[in-house]
């Protein structure tokens, strides 16, 4: 069947839309949904896809490049340093042992050595997408298992880059001349250093070109331009690396790392994220569509024995590594089960090596099928872990968690870092309390950054930004924007999406405060209250009142005013009256009247609250 591109895209997206919710209902990762969807529309069930699926797969491989860019953005040098032992210890040993054992098994099974090595390399990787999704769904990022899994995955993601560089060497075939134009211009003696040269070039670009470029664009204040330039950046980098004869994934990763410390980190993340999601989704569907079931039927024994061998080896190695690094048994089981599948990078690597003629089409199909099968098995394995194995360690699990886990610092996000927010942030900072700060004024962000403040550029009223700033795991959200409408918008949005957050909100005046109170916020800071009261206290002093008496009156006034505001907010809600100027003045008069009778010190009544 010949389809137009739009038609093919429609079918792919349709399959994803129908399958993913179904699979999610069953409690499985969305990746499985995509692959199943692909299988269903593929040539073996509905025959909806034409020859286009391979092309689509090639195009959407770009999603993987974006994934690497995003991973690069996550790898802040400091964070990296903090878990370096886990990353290199667990990651490296996992890779080394798995590759060695698998290679030996394949070699003994009389595979061609180079093919055996390629397969072993591909199979050693685990699926970042599936595991991170699972960790997120189970909400165990902060546990030992979560951190170990993340470390191992990170190391695997990084090791994809040298593997991609290694494959052409293994292939030992003349490389494709057309792609290497740029490289050819270099003098012969420089060619071997092309990787180092490319990396240096990227570091230079990241340092001196990307950030000023983004600053320039963001100053225009147009959202679409930022999206465009984010895409431009990622595609540009990968094309550049392509032209230099290097892996585009490596380029994207380094570009990501270079930008990880810049103020645009969260903005870029939220811009690229949807594209990555979409492309990866289509990529997974196309993977499903290209699984060749005839190959499986031809030699089912081969496929299934290999699958089981791979799973057992990966599980064993992970378990051993976990033991060596002294993980608790239940956590260890969790890690070993979670990471035992083959990852999505295997698809890329396998197809890449087929293009290099390292693998023949039949083996390619078989390997792809094995990868997909292990992915589909993961959720089942995790279910087994949950139901059968974990309950056997219930006590140690809870007790140890309570004692050994260090008390993590509360995560704070400050939105808006103008005169108001920066005062809040400075007081936090001098007390060593760290916060993630978002502001959408590029000039200000630039100035603050040059003064050593860790501020990110981004408009928090856009959905993705808060999420990439870590709102999902944060504890406190501090809203200090100038515009009450924006504060309110973010508040409502964030409360729905991130219910665990506690809010601290800046409000302009009493009327804003009513809104926030009726929205269920407890921590409201009226900028017109404190300063005005301080001023009044000083005026009382100037008129001859004793300073201490004036201050006491001021504090009492503040307490009463806050309580009255709370009371009036409720009335206002029931009345649903919009405030006219006249009504406002009437309320003001009411308040003043209340003040006069509750301030007589000698005449305290039993009903008085303050």
């Amino acid at each position: 069947m010949e389809n137009s591109l739009a038609m093919t895209a429609l079918i792919f997206l349709g399959a994803a839309i129908i399958m993913v919710p179904l699979v999610r209902k069953l409690g499985l990762s969305s990746v499985i949904g995509f692959i199943l969807g692909g299988i269903i529309i593929g040539p073996f069930v509905l025959k909806l896809t034409g020859s286009g699926s391979e092309d689509i797969m090639n195009t959407t491989e770009f999603g993987v490049i974006m994934l690497l860019f995003l991973i690069g953005l996550e790898v802040e040098p400091k964070k990296f340093w903090g878990i370096r032992k886990k990353i290199f210890g667990m990651g490296l040993s996992q890779m080394l042992f798995t590759v060695t054992i698998l290679f030996l098994i394949f070699y003994i099974a009389k595979w061609r050595p180079d093919q055996a090595l390629v397969a072993a390399l591909c199979f050693a990787l685990s699926s970042t997408a599936i595991v991170l999704q699972t960790l997120k769904e189970k909400n165990i990022f902060r546990t030992e298992a979560g951190e170990s899994s993340f470390s191992i995955l990170l190391f695997q993601d990084i090791s994809v880059i040298p593997i991609l560089a290694l494959l052409p060497v293994l292939a030992s075939r003349p490389k494709d001349k057309e792609q290497m134009i740029l490289l050819q211009y270099l003098p012969d003696w420089l060619q071997p250093f092309s990787i180092i040269l490319g990396v240096l070039l990227l570091i230079f670009l990241g340092r001196y070109i990307f950030v000023p470029f983004l600053r320039y664009v963001s100053r225009s204040g147009m959202n679409e331009l930022l999206t465009a330039s984010s895409l431009f950046l990622v595609i540009g980098v990968s094309e550049l690396m392509n032209a230099a004869g290097l892996s585009p994934a490596l380029g994207a990763f380094i570009a990501g790392v270079m930008l990880a410390t810049s103020e645009f980190r969260h903005e870029l993340e939220s811009q690229i994220e949807p594209f990555k999601g979409l492309l990866l989704a289509v990529f997974f569907v196309s993977v499903g569509a290209t699984i060749n079931f005839f190959v499986i039927l031809e030699d089912p024994m081969f496929i299934f024995t290999t699958t089981i061998v791979v799973l057992v080896v990966k599980f064993g190695v992970l378990f051993g590594v976990g033991k060596f690094f002294k993980l608790k048994t239940d956590q260890n089981f969790m890690v070993a089960f979670a990471l035992s599948q083959i990852g999505e990078f295997a698809f890329v690597l396998i197809n890449y090596s087929t293009n290099l003629y390292l693998l023949d089409p039949k083996l390619n199909a078989q390997l792809l099928a094995i990868t997909a099968i292990t992915m589909c098995i993961t959720p089942i394995l995790l279910l087994i872990n949950d139901k059968l194995i974990e309950p056997r360690w219930p006590k140690t699990h809870h007790q140890n968690n309570e004692i050994t886990e260090p008390i993590k610092q509360q995560k704070i996000i400050i939105v808006g870092f103008g005169h108001f927010g920066s005062t809040v942030g400075r007081l936090l900072r001098v007390n060593g309390v760290k916060a993630t700060v978002l502001d959408n004024d590029p000039e200000r962000v630039n100035i603050l950054r040059s003064n050593g403040f860790k501020v990110y550029f981004g408009d928090a009223s856009k959905p993705g930004i808060l999420r990439s700033a870590g709102a999902e795991t944060a504890d406190l959200l501090i809203l200090c924007l100038d515009s009450p409408e924006k504060n309110k918008f973010i508040l409502e949005y964030a409360r729905e999406k991130f219910p665990q957050l506690q809010f601290f909100v800046r409000s302009k005046n009493r009327l804003d405060a009513y809104d926030f109170i009726n929205n269920g916020v407890d921590n409201i800071y009226r900028e017109t209250l404190g300063t005005a009261v301080n001023m009044a206290v000083d005026i009382l002093k100037a008129t001859g009142m004793r300073a201490y008496a004036a201050r006491r009156l001021g504090q009492r006034f503040m307490l009463i005013d806050k309580a009255v505001t709370r009371k009036l907010a409720k009335e206002e809600k029931s009345d649903k009256v919009t405030f006219t100027m006249k009504a406002y003045l009437e309320r003001e008069a009411e308040l003043l009247a209340q003040d006069s009778h509750s301030f007589d010190e000698s005449q305290w009544s039993e009903n008085e609250e303050f």
């Binding site: 006491r552 504090q555 009492r556 307490l559 305290w604 009544s605 039993e606 008085e608 609250e609 303050f610």
Partner: protein
Amino acid sequence: MELVKIYEGVENLVFKDLYEEYPDFHIQSFKERKRIRDYERLIFHFPLIWFSIPPLLKLWIDEVFDMTWTTEKNHPLQNKDAIIIVTVGGKAEHYTPQGMYETTIGELLRSLTLSLKVNQIEVKELIAVHNSDDLTKEELTQISEKIKRTLNIS
């Protein structure tokens, strides 16, 4: 801080940490006067600071107690008694007429006990915990037990 845990989750007892409640030293006196009626016994638990009660406790008494109550009949402090628990950094032997400070803890807390007495609050017991900065775990548990027995809670 360890000793304060005695009061966690005890029935018929409400624990108020004045320094947490009034960090800006602005005591809501009317609110305090109102709520104080609900209780039969006041437990004052504080460290001795420069041979006196903590300033916020002093301020609390200044703001909440009213001079007119000493002569009145139906005032908020009626029908109550009190227990005082004071933690002292110095050694017990220093707080004797012959010791380094030439006075006793009871004498030093006179302003508090007198203020209670004129309002018809009887001080049932005064427990002084000496050497309170370097107590061992066992000593702490012993003292906790003693306080619990006095307060009739366990």
